[in-house]
Amino acid sequence: MSDTLSLPGRRARIDALSFGLILSGLVVAAALAAPLVAWVTGHGPTDQFRTTGLDQMGLPMRPNAEFLLGSDGFGRDVLVRVLYGTRISLIVGLPATTLAMLVGTLIGLVAGWSRGWGDQLFGRFMDVMIAFPFILTALSLATINRGADGQPRIPPEALVVLVIAGFSWIYFARLVRGITRSLRDGPLVNAARVSGASVPQILWREVLPVILPKIAVFWSVQLPANIVAEATLSFLGVGINPPTPSLGNMIADAQRSGLYQVQPWLLLGPGLALFLAVAGANILSAGLRSRLDPHSALRV
């Protein structure tokens, strides 16, 4: 009878999904529009406008006709930098989450399917991975990535993607492993087995379709977390290096220089962009969850 007792608020659900879509769409559009805005304003993301963007004391300008969101401590256009910073957030966040999803799903499938010592090994491996400190590893990898000539061996953006993916695949893997385990001896898999299907066929045809909506939802849960992770790394100085704008290093810069007290948009600009990017993705994930995976609790 329980099906008659839960009455989903259908209207609210659709609202969450479309609201999330609109918000995320705006963020994506903003990121895509970055070069356009740079072209229109004539302000590149790292261009310094010493005379128009700074006063004699070296203080930035508040919003005006030339700098719509004001300028920063180097006379750079905050609006353009915020848009490029949002771009970096997505350029890092999207592939990192997707990579984590692919790797995590693969490993989770194998781990969930295996029994005995293989299962044990995966369990221990995941324990170690979960216990590994994220920021320290990022820091170490940033150091390792500094080649003999001082220049990064791989682009810092790629490194940040790898670091973040390296720490978030594990959550996908746990999820997939759990589902695979519960399916492994269930009627669905048994039915396929007695009908003579091979293991890859079973994983592909029976297990994956069950997992897909869940990992799609989890992808959208993990995306904002990974956007925040990039911002945090850059905030701590181990992510995207200046002068490339990232929301995290812009916030760090605003805080460190204290210039946000003169020019609030130094903090508000990147802060708001980060807020909208994360909120959009969160609301989108809530909407997706109720659409794709309505029966599971919110598991982050």
Binding site: M1, T4, L5, L7, R10, G186, P187, L188, N190, A191, A192, R193, V194, S195, G196, A197, R205, E206, P209, V210
Partner: protein, 547 residues
């Protein structure tokens, strides 16, 4: 409609859920008096549970509820929530279907019962020691041995029957005058079911309770009800004193229910003959044993299944029948013992031919069909694997062979009814042209009228295709009606086996006798022993009705 003044009366109750076109309950009325047992019978979705829940304020607020519900002269639907709450638990007790899901998983039985008492206890609250004594007494009264020591156990630490006793103790904790028992025995083994029914009867007699007993099974109801109300699609279609309804059902739906119950619970074997004893067995099991840790699930089980027979394997939950089925299906392997199929050794991994020869129909067609794939895709994949040249016409043939419209190939499992899904599951098993099908409780998840249709189909396939079927079931009626031979498992040991008729008429083993004695519907069988039967067999209306 005479007798004592009604304690509880529903007048013209209707329930409608928002977003659903048709009302779930369309103006039903009923009444029950102290000391009386009213049975509410109908299949799932007929509105029987919803109407009672709605009447007592247990349906969420969004539902539109109309009509009148009188309890001790007060209209429950117009009571303020806190007064309604004061009645629930105190004056109206509930026993629900599955004690596993109806007891809170993380609260001790003491807490759960004490909570019910405390919710209605006048201040000052009873002292803890007194409360524990009271709960212990209650549990002892409903037949829980050593109750004092088990107060702090969680529900899962009790067996199913014991859990249902806990539920009953909880319902009776505050001396209610009305007990609503919603399918209280459906999830239980047959012997336990008999005990719980006896307990309910005993408590009713002792306390002079008015009982509303909700069930889908007329046979169960027949043993306990004073009056019977039959519901279909939110309406009452038949009402009357129990003997009258059981003897002379007026509405066709009531007649069909009755027929299904009779078929399911009749223990008189029907004509299916035992196969010739000298035919070489299709499958032979030789002293199979299987343990999980220290738990010995199967002990030296030996049995033979002949070609073209249905072998019924019965036993209560935990007897090892499912494990045996899994071993035969190749989903598990025995620790000791041998299996032969057509004389050849059958052991994991099965050869390709053996894999095709042994197929399985699972209990729950909801869980065993991939909800993301269309019926045609599921079946044609297997046909291709089995080497079928033309999968499209093959799929159509298969669907037809299980009496389904071939057009259903384009649907997803979620778009089919339960019975249709189980037919698809059978079709999937047939696709491999097997010699043996292991069917583990193939009908227990289905409505009672559908159950009969599926069993009929299996029997027909045996006859048409010469299939052998290992039918695992807890229901002796099914065995009596459809099986050629039967084996009785008790705690991993095959205590009795042989052709159905001799085993059922002259059981040699105590356990078999206990099982047979516990089959519900004694009163029904007595009534039907001398039936003024009409001649239409309701099952002959055929499966297409449900397409």
């Amino acid at each position: 409609m005479t007798g004592p003044a009604p304690l509880f009366e529903i007048r013209n109750l209707s329930v409608r859920f928002p977003g659903q076109g048709e009302a779930a309950v369309k103006g039903i009325s009923l009444r029950v008096s102290p000391g009386e047992t009213l049975a509410l019978v109908g299949e799932s979705g007929s509105g029987k549970s919803v109407s009672l829940l709605a009447a007592t304020g247990l349906v969420p607020g969004a539902a539109q509820i109309g009509g009148e519900v009188l309890f001790g002269g007060r209209d429950l639907l117009r009571l303020p929530p806190h007064q309604m709450r004061a009645l629930r638990g105190a004056r109206i007790g509930y026993v629900f279907q599955d004690p596993q899901s109806n007891l809170h998983p993380y609260k001790s039985v003491y807490t759960q019962i004490a909570e019910a008492i405390l919710a209605h206890a006048p201040r000052p609250r009873p002292a803890r020691a007194a409360l524990r004594a009271r709960v212990t007494a209650l549990l002892t009264e409903v037949g829980i041995r050593n109750a004092g020591a088990r107060l702090d156990d969680l529900p899962w630490q009790f067996s199913g029957g014991m859990r249902q006793r806990v539920m009953i103790a909880m319902a009776l904790a505050l001396e209610p005058s009305l007990l609503i028992a919603d399918e209280p025995t459906t999830a239980l083994d047959v012997t336990v079911q008999a005990q719980i029914l006896a307990l309910l009867k005993e408590q009713q007699a002792r306390r002079g309770l008015a009982v509303i007993f909700v069930s889908h099974d007329l046979a169960v109801v027949s043993d306990i009800a004073d009056r019977i109300l039959v519901m279909q699609q939110g309406e009452v279609v038949e009402e009357g004193p129990a003997p009258e309804v059981l003897r002379r059902p007026r509405h066709p739906y009531a007649r069909r229910l009755l027929a299904a119950a009779g078929l399911a619970h009749g223990t008189h074997s029907t004509p299916a003959d035992a196969p010739a004893p000298d035919a070489p067995p299709l499958l032979s099991l030789d002293r199979l044993s299987r343990s999980f840790g220290r738990n010995e699930v199967l002990r030296e089980v030996s049995l033979d299944i002949a070609p073209a027979e249905i072998y019924g394997l019965v036993g209560e939950s935990g007897s090892g029948k499912t494990t045996l089925g899994r071993i035969v299906a190749g989903l598990d392997r025995p620790d000791r013992g041998r299996m032969r199929l057509d004389g050849a050794d059958l052991s994991q991994p099965f050869t390709r031919a053996q894999r095709f020869a042994v197929q399985v129909v699972f209990q729950d067609p909801y869980a065993s069909l991939n909800p993301h794939r269309r019926i045609g895709a599921i079946l044609s994949e297997i046909l291709v694997r089995a080497g079928e040249g033309d999968p499209i016409s093959g799929v159509a043939d298969l669907l037809r062979s299980v009496r389904l419209d071939p057009a259903l190939a384009g649907r997803l499992p979620g778009q089919l009814s339960g019975g249709q899904r189980q037919r698809v599951a059978i079709a999937r098993a047939l696709a491999m042209r097997p010699k043996l099908i292991v069917a583990d409780e193939p009908v227990s998840a289905l409505d009672i009228t559908t159950q009969a249709e599926i069993l009929q189909l299996l029997a027909r396939l045996r006859d048409e295709r010469g299939l052998s079927i290992l039918l695992i079931t807890h229901d002796l009626g099914v065995v009596a009606r459809h099986c050629n031979r039967v084996g009785v498992l008790q705690r991993g040991v095959l205590v009795e086996h042989g052709p159905v008729a001799p085993v059922f008429t002259a059981p040699r083993h105590d356990y078999t006798r206990a099982l047979l004695a516990a089959v519900p519907g004694r009163r029904l069988r007595e009534l039907r022993a001398d039936p003024p039967d009409d001649h239409s067999d309701p099952l002959q209306t055929g499966p297409h009705q449900h397409v």
